[in-house]
Symmetry: C2
Subunit: 104 residues, 2 copies
């Protein structure tokens, strides 16, 4: 994904927080027993933590996904979101190369 799209996705404070929260599963309530072996966090928990409406968080998550920062997987009625670590790392490398004077 391109740098500009990603910066845009991260330029909203709640979306940025979501990416940070997702670093650590313990930022959210424990998964239900039947989801014990799913990776990621269901969107309901993210919504609850963010304190915004369900529709807002749904569209935020799809924006983060479009930017490549998260992946999602649907299991039954739940959608689980998790960070795309490789994409995040690649973005950090790209932005560092672009911005820092001593690089490139």
């Amino acid at each position: 994904m391109n740098t500009e799209t990603i910066i845009n996705a991260l330029s909203n404070p709640i979306r940025l927080k979501i990416i940070v929260w997702l670093k650590d599963r313990s930022n959210f309530p424990p998964a239900l027993p039947e989801h014990a072996n799913e990776e990621g966090v269901c969107i309901g928990y993210i919504q609850e933590k963010a304190g915004l409406s369900q529709s807002t968080i749904s569209s935020y998550m799809s924006k983060l996904k479009q930017a490549g920062l998260v992946d999602s997987e649907r299991h039954g009625q739940w959608t689980f979101y998790r960070r795309n670590e490789a994409a995040i790392q690649a973005f950090m490398d790209a932005i560092a190369t672009e911005l820092l004077a001593n690089k490139k």
Copy 2:
């Protein structure tokens, strides 16, 4: 300066480009002889390169300055802008710590 303000300043593609352009003085026309020992680039050159109106670039530069990404110095009727390398580096460190899973 805080991370959120900086991300916002960088979330405009022209502002981001300006910061990148300022890495290398040769992205701009040579300084006038009487400005030979000024650091930075006068805003007129930045405007010319960006191709936006003078007022737009002026406010972009003041936004970048407020975010701490550039410093400015006025000499006579000219204002010279240059990158604040320390601030840019500090921002990169902060955002890497915040975003990357293996940090902090």
